[in-house]
């Protein structure tokens, strides 16, 4: 009988380690002045430096250093007073130099932490993820393996290399081992990467688009028998390219490793690849022979020695922490935990805040984004924010608030905007979606309803107020739902001597 996830975490204690690579959004590369734009034609953003031509000399991009220090400070790290680049030597065509310029034993930032919160059946739980190091390096080129059936290297006839990405500044953020999470390991891993992404985004140092590869995560996982206090052999899962995949990769590895251990097999220390479709991993290159990169200090670059004035100047520019901001907004909007968590998970905080700042009533702003817009987005399997702007939603909400639209009409307006019929105003004009609150127009419909249902009208005249519902319904129907129901009720009751 194969162990399920729940059985696995009862028997075994998972230990995590997370390595996140993030491409900085500098305009030029790390060591040369080539552009860094995504999606340019192959090999149009290269020069002698990033192509590794003999004699070409690298010079460090100062902005990349600043971004790296900012990242370290935001993660509560110490900034190293002295830090150097090193050559990581390996033969592989994704780096034309035959080495990658990286940092080895002298990274720019060390010893930080990030507190993350997860929502569990037992309430909100907090975990501290300790950061080992933040170091700078350069991204590699992109390989295209041609021939063979799978697009993998094995079986390929040859590979084609585009070096546009080679040399783009990359920062690697490595955690210390994360233990004590128990069954919550998958959620803690996801919460950490999410929080990290939000921090990097708030710093403005990276696009942090996992689907485009500007943020990538490797998940290290090991299992040890529960309460044994030991550490098992770990696997390193690469190719984890979404927040959801981070969670799924941990679950997949816990299940795979626990079943191996249960069968008396051992875990091999290796690199594995995450498979998006199945949530499982497949083995990659074996790491049983420890890699030998023969690191040595990069002789073409001088050390980075940030003085404390520079560090403090950068520290002063740190934005509000995303977690602090969430708490502040939750309090300001008095939102219950669950609804707040729903907005955070759906990544709607920014648009809701914008919508409110544009004058929309806060409760309506939240319920429109979380409700109608999210529903339409789910139907189309796209992000809610890609359907409509916060300015458009704010406009619709303001029209509801001042009585020009009913909720029902507003839904039609939003639908029209999403269908590309124009701005909310234009949709209202084109579709003729105006609340009928003009008394004389309503009175015509009311008279008609009374004529059609004389008995009902008589009962209302006799004091049977609830009977008015049928007449109000008829008026609403006659006006195509565009009447203000409260107004209809008021006019009708007055007309029948009950006002």
């Amino acid at each position: 009988m194969a162990l399920s996830y729940d059985q696995a975490v009862e028997k075994y204690e998972p230990t995590l380690g997370l390595e996140v690579h993030v491409e900085l959004n500098t305009k030029s590369k790390m060591f040369c002045s080539c552009a860094t734009e995504f999606g340019a034609s192959p090999n149009t953003q290269t020069c002698p430096v990033c192509l590794g031509m003999p004699g070409a000399l690298p010079v460090v991009n100062g902005k990349a250093i600043e971004s790296s220090i900012l990242i370290g400070l935001a993660l509560n790290c110490s900034v190293a007073p002295f830090s150097r680049f090193a050559r990581k030597n390996y033969f592989y065509p994704d780096m034309p130099k035959n080495f990658q310029t990286s940092q080895y034993d002298e990274p720019i930032c060390v010893n930080g932490y990030l507190d993350v919160e997860i929502d569990t059946d037992e309430g909100i739980k907090q975990f501290r993820v300790e950061i080992e190091r933040v170091h700078m390096e350069e991204d590699t080129g992109k390989s295209l393996h041609v021939g063979g059936a799978t697009g993998r290297i094995h079986g390929a006839d040859y590979s084609l290399l585009d070096y546009n990405r080679a040399g783009i500044p990359l920062v690697e953020i490595v955690t210390k081992i994360v233990g004590g999470t128990g069954k919550y390991a998958p959620q803690v891993a996801r919460a950490y990467v999410t929080e990290l992404r939000d921090i990097l985004r708030s710093l403005g140092v990276s696009d942090v688009k996992m689907e485009q590869g500007s943020m990538r995560c490797d998940v290290n996982l090991s299992l040890a028998p529960a309460s044994s206090g030991t550490l098992g052999t770990r696997s390193e899962t690469k190719n984890v390219n979404s927040l959801r995949s981070v969670e799924r990769a941990v679950i997949g590895e816990v299940i795979r490793q626990s079943n191996r251990l249960d069968a008396g097999e051992r875990i091999v220390q290796e690199t594995r690849h995450f498979l998006e479709e199945s949530g499982q991993t497949r083995p990659g290159r074996s790491k049983e022979q420890a890699e030998d990169y023969r690191y040595f200090p990069e002789p073409d670059l001088v050390p980075v020695v940030p003085d404390s004035a520079w560090i403090e100047q950068l520290r002063a520019t740190l934005p509000e922490k995303p977690s602090t901001r969430r708490k502040r907004l939750q309090q300001a909007w008095s939102v219950p935990d669950k609804e707040m968590a729903a907005m955070v998970n759906a990544e709607l905080l920014d648009v809701v805040e914008e919508t409110i700042s544009l004058g929309a009533e806060p409760t309506r702003a939240r319920s429109w984004w979380l409700g109608e817009v999210s529903r339409l987005a789910n139907e189309r399997e796209v992000a809610a924010t890609s359907l409509i702007t916060s300015a458009q939603i704010a406009e619709v909400i303001n029209l509801i608030s001042n009585g020009e639209l009913t909720d029902k009409l507003a839904r039609q307006v939003v639908e029209g905007v999403i269908a590309g019929e124009g701005t909310p105003r234009e949709v209202i004009d084109k579709r003729g979606l105006k609340v009928v609150s003009d008394d004389s127009a309503l009175m015509v419909a009311i008279e008609a309803a009374i004529t059609a249902q004389p008995d009902t009208a008589e009962r209302v005249r006799g004091g049977n107020i609830p009977a008015a519902g049928a007449l109000i319904g008829a008026v609403m129907k006659a006006t195509g739902g565009q009447a203000d129901a409260a107004k209809v009720r008021e006019l009708l009751l007055k007309h029948l001597g009950q006002g």
Binding site: T26, K27, S28, S33, C34, A35, S41, P42, N43, T44, Q45, T46, C47, P48, L51, V59, V60, N61, G62, K63, A64, I65, R84, N89, F91, Y92, P93, P96, L144, H145, G147, R152, I153, H154, A156, D157, Y158, S159, L160, L161, D162, Y163, T271, H273, G284, R285, D292, R294, F296, P297, E298, P299, L301, V302, P303, V304, V305, P306
Partner: protein, 98 residues
């Protein structure tokens, strides 16, 4: 004791993708040992008060502005490539690695 063994040299040759015969390995192991011995003597001379250095000039913090300058065209970039296809460098298949 030798500073570098024949096995070390064989391992380095493998990492550097250099095919070496047994005779070459025997020869190079001895030769490199002599070189490393000479370097070791320099290390003896340097006292503990002399820090290790990776750069001959004591310069720190050499940075450039984050400004884009024109790159090579893809034709220029590929002009020295032994093989190319679809504006990309064409390299032999890589075996045994992912």
């Amino acid at each position: 004791m030798a500073a570098i063994s024949r096995d070390d040299v064989a391992h380095l040759a493998k990492l550097a993708r250099i095919d070496m015969s047994d005779v070459e390995l025997d020869h190079l192991a001895k030769e490199m040992d002599v070189i490393l011995g000479a370097v070791a003597r320099v290390q003896e001379v340097a006292g503990v008060d002399v820090p290790a250095t990776s750069h001959p000039i004591p310069v720190n913090n050499v940075f450039r502005e984050d400004v884009v300058k024109p790159s090579l065209t893809s034709q220029e970039a590929l002009s020295g490539a032994p093989a190319q296809s679809e504006d990309r460098f064409k390299v032999p298949q890589i075996l045994g690695e992912e």
